[in-house]
């Protein structure tokens, strides 16, 4: 078990390191001076000071080492465009909103996705199944940046149940979470349905039925338990798509989350911000995937983490 865990942690750190380095190299591959492109004509002296402040006149490897050192101390650096706040501050500010949005979306996608998937599988061939599959197809076809304005148009403008945008009350979270969750929900539904169908065709379901236990017990205790396992493997990519989805949703709904800072940073070519938020997101993603993998090996009794048992 240890051996496996250690190996995975190593892989994880390696991937993180690659991301950090890649991001760093890319950011510094752009020729020229980030301050030169400013429309305000900065006096030469100030520009020199700024460059020194951001270590931009040091050779690249030194900048890299400084960067890594700062990362170890969880310091993502200052923002070029904003004087008052560093990247860490931005992330701290936006974290609450983004986290809430993300977790709500995950919850919606998982709960409803699994539910619809099971229902569709058990009602194969009739309209319930077709309905759920139609929903699933729509979810894949309609990207979040189309879904969001659609939702706003119908549920905030034409039919003013929800506020149009921004953040504040619980009501504000509904439409954005839905827009974000829609795609993942569709995919989970499909996955769960396929998994459930396959499981219900297995011989051990016949054995369970032959015991004379009621159908619901067969479905829940034998069917769902086994069908849900493969869905766990999908959680990793799910979180990934959720993260990129937040950029869209936060921008359209004007939500003050990390995604907004990220998107603004791209627009402003604020490299430390881009760099910092990318590292932040990647870390979360990679650690989450690692945790999910570990959880999966714990849930499925067939998997032996090591050759401990002989």
């Amino acid at each position: 078990m240890f051996h496996y865990l250690a190996k995975r942690v190593l892989m994880m750190l390696l991937t993180l390191w690659i991301i950090v380095t890649l991001t760093f190299l890319l950011m510094h591959a752009i020729p020229g001076d980030p301050f030169a492109s400013d429309s305000d004509q900065l006096p030469e002296q100030i520009r020199a000071n700024l460059r020194a402040k951001y270590h931009l006149d040091e050779p690249l490897p030194i900048q890299y080492v400084i960067y890594l050192k700062n990362l170890m101390m969880l310091d993502l650096g200052p923002s070029i465009k904003s004087d008052t706040r560093g990247v860490n501050d931005m992330i701290a500010d936006g974290f609450g909103a983004s986290a809430l949005l993300g977790m709500q979306a995950v919850a919606i996608a998982l709960v409803f996705g699994i539910f619809f998937g099971i229902v569709a599988a058990l009602n194969r061939g009739n309209w319930i199944d077709y309905g759920a599959m139609a929903l699933a197809v729509l979810g894949v076809a309609i990207p979040s940046f189309i879904m969001a304005p659609l939702l706003i148009n119908y549920f905030a403008i034409k039919w003013p149940i929800f506020p149009v945008a921004t953040w504040g009350t619980w009501l504000h979270t509904v439409l954005p979470s839905l827009a974000l969750a829609f795609g993942p929900l569709a995919i989970i539904t499909r996955y769960m349905r396929a998994s459930m169908i396959e499981v219900m065709n297995q011989n051990y379901i016949r054995t369970a039925e032959a015991k004379g236990i009621p159908t619901w017990a067969v479905v829940v205790k034998h069917g769902i338990r086994n069908a849900i396992l493969p869905v766990v493997t999908f959680l990793g990519p799910l979180i990934a798509s959720l993260i990129t989805g937040t950029f869209v949703v936060e921008k359209i709904f004007a939500i003050p989350g990390i995604g907004k800072y990220f998107v603004d940073g791209i627009f402003n070519r604020d490299y430390p911000v881009i760099l910092g938020t990318t590292v932040f997101y990647s870390s979360i993603l990679i650690v989450t995937i690692f945790l999910i993998d570990v959880a999966y090996t714990l849930i499925d009794p067939r998997i032996k983490l090591s050759n401990k048992e002989g």
Binding site: E209, I213, R302
Partner: protein
């Protein structure tokens, strides 16, 4: 009046709706099982023996499969006419089933003990702890060593033969009166097969069980059955005690089966397979289904299903050869055809 049979199948007909039409899997099958005896249902793949077993359990895959005619009577009660709820009471408790492939017959994510206890809790309304204790005893009974430890393990920690024992333990958990074993040894090695058959024989004696064993292997039949039912293309062609049928088979299909078995005793004979293939059950023939492959087939065989002819005791065979109007078998043999 004969003592009531434990299980009576009376003119059972089971059909399946498929894309290409309606398949008549079971076409008027009748036989019975008495208390304390082992009856083997023999036939090749597709003859309807498994479907018959499913029908007894009430597990014919719906909605495309259904019983269209006939009755199944268990302990005097017609289970085909019962409500779903009543059927659930019987299933697993009075009649239970042992399945074919032990590698896939067990839930991989549930502990073995729990799988055995599940039926007990449901039918005998005892606590989990009590059921757990019984599960351990059942494991011991089917010959699994160290049952206290094994009861909390998962199926993948057992070998094939052991898993089959667990499946048998599940089948016996609620002390049923009838156990249906559907090809219980087909997926196992020959040596393990022998062990499982011995186990079944022993348990049957100890618990006074009735066993209905489905198989295509005549060796299995000879090993543990008292009586046998030979099925072909959805109908019963011959039935009788294993003694009678093996020593004096009366149906050309049975002759073919016996002849295609390699024999270790006596002289070496040629292995004679039965030519041809079973008929398409989408459009079953109106006469005897074996006629196209039968060396002794007559005009009437093609047109009409034969009635079973009785040969004393419980031995019956459905073949026009036994009709008084048919030429005598000795003449046919003299004319160069073979029986046994």
């Amino acid at each position: 009046m004969a003592e009531q049979h434990l299980l009576t199948i009376d003119n059972l007909k089971v059909h399946f709706k498929t894309y290409e039409g309606e398949v008549q899997a079971v076409r008027g099958v009748s036989f019975h099982v008495d208390k304390g005896e082992t009856v083997a249902v023999v036939g090749e793949s597709g003859c309807g023996k498994s479907v018959t077993a499913q029908a007894i359990m009430g597990l014919v895959p719906a909605p495309h499969g259904r019983i269209v005619d006939g009755r199944i009577v268990f302990e005097g009660k017609e289970i085909t006419a019962m409500s779903k709820k009543e059927q659930l009471e019987i299933r697993g408790a009075q009649i239970s089933m042992v399945f074919q492939d032990p590698m896939t017959a067990l839930n991989p994510t549930m502990k073995v003990g729990r799988q055995i206890a599940e039926g007990i809790v449901r039918h005998h309304r005892v606590s989990r702890e009590e059921a757990h204790k019984r599960a351990i005893e059942l494991l011991r009974m089917v010959g699994i060593p160290d049952p206290e430890k094994r009861v909390d393990q998962f199926p993948h920690q057992f070998s094939g033969g052991m898993r089959q024992r667990v499946v048998i333990a599940i089948a016996l958990a609620c002390q049923p009166k009838l156990v249906i074993a559907d090809e219980p040894t087909t997926a196992l090695d020959v040596t393990i097969q022998a062990q499982i058959l011995d186990l079944l024989k022993r348990l049957q004696k100890e618990q006074r069980l009735s066993v209905l064993i489905i198989t295509h292997d005549l060796g299995v039949v000879a090993a543990i059955a008292h009586r046998m039912v030979v099925m072909y293309a959805g109908v019963v062609v011959e039935t009788g005690s294993v003694q009678d049928v093996f020593s004096h088979p009366r149906h050309p299909y049975t002759w073919g089966l016996m002849r295609s078995l390699p024999r270790l005793d006596g002289e070496k004979q040629r292995l004679v397979p039965i030519e041809g293939a079973p008929p398409d059950l989408l459009h079953p023939p109106k006469g005897c289904p074996f006629a196209p492959r039968c060396e002794f087939a007559m005009e009437i065989c093609d047109r009409q299903m034969p009635e079973p002819a009785v040969f004393g005791g419980s031995h019956q065979a459905a073949c026009w050869l036994h009709d008084p109007r048919a030429p005598r078998i000795e003449e046919l043999v003299a004319a160069g055809r073979q029986t046994e």
